[in-house]
């Protein structure tokens, strides 16, 4: 009686299963994820033209609402919105300033007065975008640009695009995710995406202090030893390690972490010879990864950046499309 009582509402899909917000990869099936990747491929082609712009979101306003600053992610969302011909407003909201006075819902009320069509939001609280999507005026799309430790679905999808481009498929792939899984919204979204898309095996490789409790239940195998975990993998995803992890007694030192979990040329040799190496950036060279690997032939880190714009264009146009479809359906009934 307890579980069904509180089944989460599927707030990011329209009644006929189209995307209308993009909050998490939970609850999105393989066909929808594939549609995102396919649509992104079309936008990659757009990026190769002399005019890298399509008129899909012409006349619409996209607000990049970043409660946690991130110039990189915000820039790719901004570029994606501009290439869709949207008007873009960037708002970096310093959380410390809002924490005292204005509440998040008050902030939103103010922003909605600007008649925006889409909010791209980054927030330090897991689930903040769910909260906003539930509260926002109908017709406004919410895109999650990272919430707390919960999800970073566009990052995960651009990683999936990179994997598909290099491996051509997900079936039969062994993927290792290395480093600070505990604090990583990227890792959570990647594990979900890889499971949905049919990867054969997902491994997380980290010391126990950097793994969430019950992590196996997310659909992955735990390895504490990097060499063992890398054996026969097709894809290696390195996660970013924040400096402050040394302070909470999670790790002794960067030096020891690099020695045990840093990806060096020598350790890379344990993976398949054609394994690709990925990193969501920004990279801490000599902490997570050796420069020779980051810049080496197996690294696809720069592809990831190009794919990021295309995936964000795909997700933004699909979510706007879902909002349009829902409004049309609502108008008929």
């Amino acid at each position: 009686m307890t579980v069904t009582e509180a089944a989460p509402r599927q707030i990011q899909l329209t009644e006929d299963g189209q995307l209308k917000h993009f909050l998490t990869l939970d609850g999105l099936g393989q066909p929808l994820l594939t549609e995102i990747l396919d649509t992104a491929e079309s936008f990659i082609e757009v990026g190769a033209r002399s005019i890298k712009k399509v008129p899909l979101l012409r006349g619409r306003t996209v607000v990049n609402l970043f409660f946690e600053s991130s110039t990189r992610t915000r820039s790719t969302f901004e570029l994606a919105a501009k290439r869709l011909s949207a008007d873009v407003l960037n708002l970096d909201i310093n959380t410390s300033a809002t924490s005292k006075g204005e509440s998040l819902s008050d902030t939103l009320l103010n922003l909605e007065a600007m008649a925006s069509d889409m909010f791209v939001i980054r927030h330090s609280q897991s689930g903040a975008q769910h909260f906003i999507a539930a509260a926002v005026t109908p017709g406004v799309a919410i895109i999650n640009a990272g919430d707390g430790r919960h999800a970073h679905p566009t990052q995960a999808m651009l990683d999936m695009l990179t994997i598909r481009q290099h491996k051509g498929r997900f079936e039969g792939l062994r993927v290792a995710i290395v480093g600070d899984v505990l604090h990583s919204r990227v890792a959570r979204s990647q594990i979900r995406a890889l499971n949905t898309l049919g990867a054969e095996e997902i491994r997380v490789i980290a010391p126990a202090t950097l793994l969430p409790k019950d992590v196996e239940a997310l659909g992955c195998k735990v390895f504490y030893n990097l060499q063992q975990g890398l054996r026969d993998v097709d894809v290696i995803i390195m996660l970013r390690l924040q400096r402050e992890r040394m302070e909470g007694a999670l790790l002794p030192s960067e030096k020891e972490f690099y020695k045990l979990y840093g990806l060096s040329v020598e350790k890379l040799a344990y993976a398949k010879p054609d394994a690709i190496v990925m990193h969501p950036g920004p990279i801490n060279r000599g902490v997570e990864i050796e420069s020779a690997v980051a810049d080496g032939p197996q690294s696809v880190i720069l592809n990831q950046v190009t794919n990021g714009i295309a995936v964000r264009m795909a997700v933004m146009s699909m979510a706007m499309s879902g909002q349009v479809a829902e409004r049309a359906a609502g108008g008929q009934s």
Partner: protein, 428 residues
């Protein structure tokens, strides 16, 4: 309270947790007590007749953990609003948690609460004093003074003691004056910034976890220190299976420990948070199905003496934010009976166990005369209709806090009359 009138309750089916009075019998209430039962009651005259045909008559419920939000937090509730809610929920006695503003750590605050309650509350309000000053877990409060002012026990509210040495001294001092300590076990360092059970759902949603060991290590520490000091310890709002096992084991070796559980812990699990719904943000957090089952078994086997409301009304803004930024707690007083009856209906808890944990169990924890149906017992009664369907919403609920997950939904089982000291405290 005027004690002039006498009331006769006829045709109701009596449910006594002690099992002495059962079946359809008449009850006569006079001078604040149950004056007569059965044929004696039938024969006696009464000023007023209350027909309870088709209904159950039980002792009024006793809540060991209830936040009335006064003094202090006006926008979250007041003694007037929350005790009215209590009466609607069938409660005739509520213990007022000490985490008010100011904290109830002095006889003056205790007196203030009792004064307001005497004027505004339809039910009995028993203040719980703060065991440490400001609930800061560092300096002992004037324990004897608080008890003299009317506190029935002392508590740490929702705050942990600074360290084990202070906890030990707190227990030893309380023992000296034969004071019951009601402690919510949580290791603050292990709970840290968490707000959800550190398990599967937290892993998936990236919620900051409160591990099970945050509770169990605290339970173990408290049990060992209680055993050594000999204090009468009541563990409040257990949430994990292992805690129940530890309490059972401690009792077996003679430790004077009792325990309670919040009703929502018996009904929901961590899965309730899967949609980031802040209504389910409670402390201790909702844990696993295994924990829920052991808590239910604990109520059934008597390891857990009482089910409490842990009523925590909030203003809408406190719950209208991203999950981790919301306040913990549910406002459950008025829906608690219906929640319990769902458990009965699902065969997860017997009606007798539910009733005992709401009446006799908590009465015994505090040594109260209430919580039973017997001649001479206080005329604190609840008449309920276990079948009636009703909708929980702004029209039916009076608590200042709308933060319960049933809001806007239909429930089954409702209190129709509440009597405190033989006087009507609530009637539909």
């Amino acid at each position: 309270m005027s004690q002039q009138t006498s009331i006769k309750i006829v045709n109701g089916e009596l449910l006594d947790p002690a099992g002495q009075l059962t079946g359809v019998q008449t009850l006569l209430l006079r001078d604040g007590i149950i004056a007569a039962v059965g044929a004696d009651a039938d024969a006696a005259p009464a000023d007023q007749i209350l027909d309870a045909a088709g209904r159950l008559v039980t002792p009024g419920f006793i809540d060991l953990s209830c936040n009335l939000r006064e003094p202090g937090n006006g926008q979250k509730g007041s003694i007037a609003t929350e005790t009215r809610a209590a009466a609607r929920g069938g409660f005739t006695t509520v213990c007022a948690a000490p985490d008010t503003a100011p904290v109830n750590d002095s006889g003056a605050v205790t007196s203030l609460i009792l004064d307001i309650a005497a004027q505004q509350s339809p039910v009995r309000v028993l203040p719980l004093g703060a065991a440490t000053r400001g609930l800061e877990g560092e300096l002992l409060s004037d324990m004897a003074g608080l008890v003299a002012a009317g506190c029935v026990a002392l508590s740490n509210g929702q705050s942990a003691m600074r360290n084990a040495r202070i906890l030990r001294r707190c227990m030893a001092y309380a023992k000296t004056f034969d004071i019951t300590l009601i402690l919510q076990p949580e290791n603050a360092a292990l709970a840290a910034d968490g707000f959800a059970h550190d398990g599967l759902v937290a892993a998936r949603l990236g919620l900051l976890g409160i591990p099970e060991v945050a509770e169990t290590t605290a339970v173990m520490e408290m049990l060992l220190l209680a055993e050594e000091t000999g204090v009468r310890l009541h563990l409040a709002q257990l949430s994990s299976a292992r805690s129940v096992d530890m309490v059972a084991a401690a009792r077996q070796r003679g430790v004077a420990v009792t325990a309670d559980v919040a009703m929502h812990q018996l009904v929901f699990t961590e899965d309730a948070l899967a949609g980031f719904d802040s209504a389910f943000h409670v402390r201790p957090p909702l844990r696993t199905e295994n924990d829920r089952q052991r808590l239910l078994a604990g109520v059934t086997d008597g390891t857990i003496d009482a089910i409490v409301s842990q009523h925590q009304p909030h203003d809408p803004a406190a719950k209208h934010a991203p999950l981790g930024a919301t306040a913990a707690g549910m406002a459950t007083l008025e829906v608690l009976l219906a929640m319990g009856l769902r458990l009965v209906q699902a065969d997860e808890l017997s009606r007798a166990s539910l009733l005992r944990a709401l009446t006799q169990g908590p009465a015994q924890v505090l040594g109260l005369a209430a919580g039973r149906l017997a001649p001479g017992a206080p005329a604190d009664l609840c008449v309920l209709d276990a079948e009636q369907r009703w909708r929980a919403d702004a029209d039916t609920l009076v608590s200042a806090g709308a933060n319960n997950p049933w809001h806007g939904r239909e429930l089954q089982g409702r209190v129709v009359t509440t009597l405190v000291g033989g006087q009507l405290a609530y009637q539909v």
